[in-house]
Symmetry: C2
Subunit: 213 residues, 2 copies
Amino acid sequence: MEDAAAPVSAQEQVASPRRAPSQQRSRERVERMLAAASALIAEQGSDAMRMGEVAERAGVSIGSLYQFFPDKRAIIWALAERYTAESQACISAALAGVSDAEGLGLAFSELVDIYYGLFLAEPVIRDIWSGTQADKALRQLELADSRANAEFLTAVLKRLRPDADPAALDATAFLVWQMGEAAMRLAISVERQEGDRLVAAYKRMALRELLAE
Amino acid sequence: MEDAAAPVSAQEQVASPRRAPSQQRSRERVERMLAAASALIAEQGSDAMRMGEVAERAGVSIGSLYQFFPDKRAIIWALAERYTAESQACISAALAGVSDAEGLGLAFSELVDIYYGLFLAEPVIRDIWSGTQADKALRQLELADSRANAEFLTAVLKRLRPDADPAALDATAFLVWQMGEAAMRLAISVERQEGDRLVAAYKRMALRELLAE
DNA sequence: AAAAAATATGAGTAATACTCACATTTGCAA
DNA sequence: TTGCAAATGTGAGTATTACTCATATTTTTT
């Protein structure tokens, strides 16, 4: 009997459940809480984000915050889920129509650029995904997300190389994708120029692998 | 006037300095603290490691712990530094004599296997390097370490391809190395069989890049 | 209008990293 | 040996912060 699309859905996988907002008023307040958290993360990073500060900036009491988010991770998680959904749509669109090697090369190359741009531009993404490793549960979300994204790649590969071992194609796509995320994280934590070079090197490497054989 | 080789050297880069142990007695106690921390991390992970528990298990007071380690990160850091030094020696030895493409292929392949084995076997390494991202300062140490390791690769590449652009070779080596670490982290957080496949895929991908052209 | 459900509140609790004033031990020169 | 300074050891106490809960208010339902 629970609304699966509620903004708290992700939390239920980990922490004790909280009521999903059902009234207009509370839905708006939850939005304010997320906006406040997002701003604070952008300013100081998720580690330094204080729950009391989130509540204050959202103009709600600390109790209200915990009414909808069972713990601190849940807020970060909820934000992560939004970006996740967004980027997944983008990937799906970019790779859907690919039917030959040349098309894959173009689409993949463009996809990397878009992703890199996202990483560079959005401080919240940077912070969340670079702090991810510390939080086992969030890491699982990231892995699941990465797997889902990689599947778009796998689908293309299977179309291009129908005779190859499917498990090997899975591994290749998953690895290429994960290494892409690793490369981005690396790139944004060094000087811009070096970062660009690293992303370019990754792109070359990944394409060589994807288009091989 | 300070002993640079003291086990607290790493801390000085970040937190307020602490006295380095100069007497036999305190050196032994510091060892016990590190051993206790290592055991606790192996058992529960560094996040769940409590400073009070470290002190208790080492048989010292909480005050003594803080006499030599300015904060919790410093203990983890000190442990990380040890493994870092160890693995660096191993890499240097493996790559030092390489002078042709075939030799690079063999040495690199073996190196990956050794590293993967280390990751699999040593819970403290797993925990520290997978939690790394959360701690900005530790991440810097990891990057510096990675750069140093990559330089052994760069040296080999420059020998093999003297006419290539040095900056590009740097980027390639750095990226290949970082992606290797990312691949290992990924591999140990999934089922063993899939992990093995991922490492194999990485090896193939990296070798193709290293031996290209 | 009354009852029930949802939402709002913030003082209070609990957990834990870290401090500090003081006690003890060690190294060393007189 | 003795005296003294530096190094080391101690643990009760402080500070911070995530999180709870009894209670009050608002909205929805009957």
